[in-house]
Symmetry: C2
Subunit: 220 residues, 2 copies
């Protein structure tokens, strides 16, 4: 009943020729993949990330929420991997973004904030955003049929990672380290031909994976 958390923050730096100034950028994000949908969790999760983003610009959360939905998508299943969160990459500065609202109209416009601070906020908020959800769900009972559904859904997770994830492709390139990439694969996974959704609760999840919702605008 606990949704899977995937999250990272990263900094890459490259120099083409060793002479010119190296270019660096941030990437990262956090998203949840539940087997059973608890709307309360989805709403709380997205509101948390909207709060982190809104400190920097009101444009940030809608942009990174959409990016997350688009990135974690399995075309062959016509399903998103989970209920999303935020995702960003190639982040060098925020100069194209409108600033957050100033405390009062008389203060001077906020200078562009270096993205490092934003990325640190994302990293610092990771566990706090997930832990309350874990605490609410970890002791819930589950049936053998629900465990089976979990193992089948984990198959989708593997499918996304191996078929579509560009981080995985990157890790498999010469010089990559497959064990560090495949560590994201769940410990036990089932595939079953045309398994479908056995019941109402499973269909509720898949409906949401087919059509992402604006959780941060909803109330529980």
């Amino acid at each position: 009943m606990v949704p899977t958390l995937r999250a990272d923050v990263r900094y890459f730096e490259v120099a083409d020729d060793g002479h010119s100034e190296p270019q660096g950028w941030f990437g990262g994000g956090a998203d949840l993949t539940p087997c059973y949908l608890f709307e309360e969790d989805a709403i709380e999760w997205h509101k948390h990330w909207r709060g982190v983003c809104d400190k920097y610009s009101p444009d940030l959360y809608p942009r990174y929420k959409k990016w997350c939905d688009e990135y974690f998508y399995l075309p062959a299943r016509q399903e998103h991997r989970g209920i999303g969160g935020i995702f960003f990459d190639d982040l060098m500065d925020f100069s194209d973004l409108p600033p957050p609202p100033s405390p009062s109209p008389s203060t001077s416009p906020t200078p562009p904030t270096p993205p490092l601070e934003f990325v640190q906020d994302v990293a610092d908020g990771l566990l706090d955003s997930w832990r309350p959800i874990v605490d609410r769900r970890r002791s819930l009972p589950y049936t053998p049929q629900q465990r089976e559904w979990q193992l089948v859904r984990r198959g989708r997770y593997v499918e996304f990672n191996l078929l579509y994830d560009r981080g995985v492709r990157f890790g498999l390139a010469p010089g990559g380290a497959i064990e560090r990439v495949i560590v994201s694969a769940p410990p036990l996974v089932k595939w079953s031909y045309r398994y479908g959704e056995p019941g109402e609760e499973e269909r509720r999840l898949v409906d949401v994976l087919r059509k992402p919702r604006d959780w941060a605008d909803e109330t529980d």
Copy 2:
């Protein structure tokens, strides 16, 4: 203890514009993926397929054996998927191949054989090539550790199919049917970080997967 059999024969036909003559070709093959290596099985398996191929040309088996080894390879693991067999594709005719040895030097050279007959021989031989191996291995006892090794090895099978197999990529294209592709995924699979080879028998298998052997030339 029974090796996984993967096999198919297929005929594709395309016409680019609907006016010109359609072009057709055969593809197919058969290969084995064991979790534990029985050299006797590998030798018998490869001798079977050399026998099928040699009816048409002595060049066929070496070519298709090599193609099989090259196709079923996981670069990120530096392992072949299994102990191979034969693999062929884009097969339109055998006109570039030397014919099989004539019964006597006085007969006229064999005319090129249409590949349909070869492909039918491959299909007809599939079950006969595998069944004796199944019969020898199906009742062997196994330990929980050996079962665990099987589940871990199945992970490699999934990795190959999702990361590298072009048949899978084809099936995932628009208009494809993912359930008909993913049906090749084993029912239960384990991933375990840096699992390695727990013992001597597991190392023997992986040695062979790292360095394919000319089984048809070996004697048991």
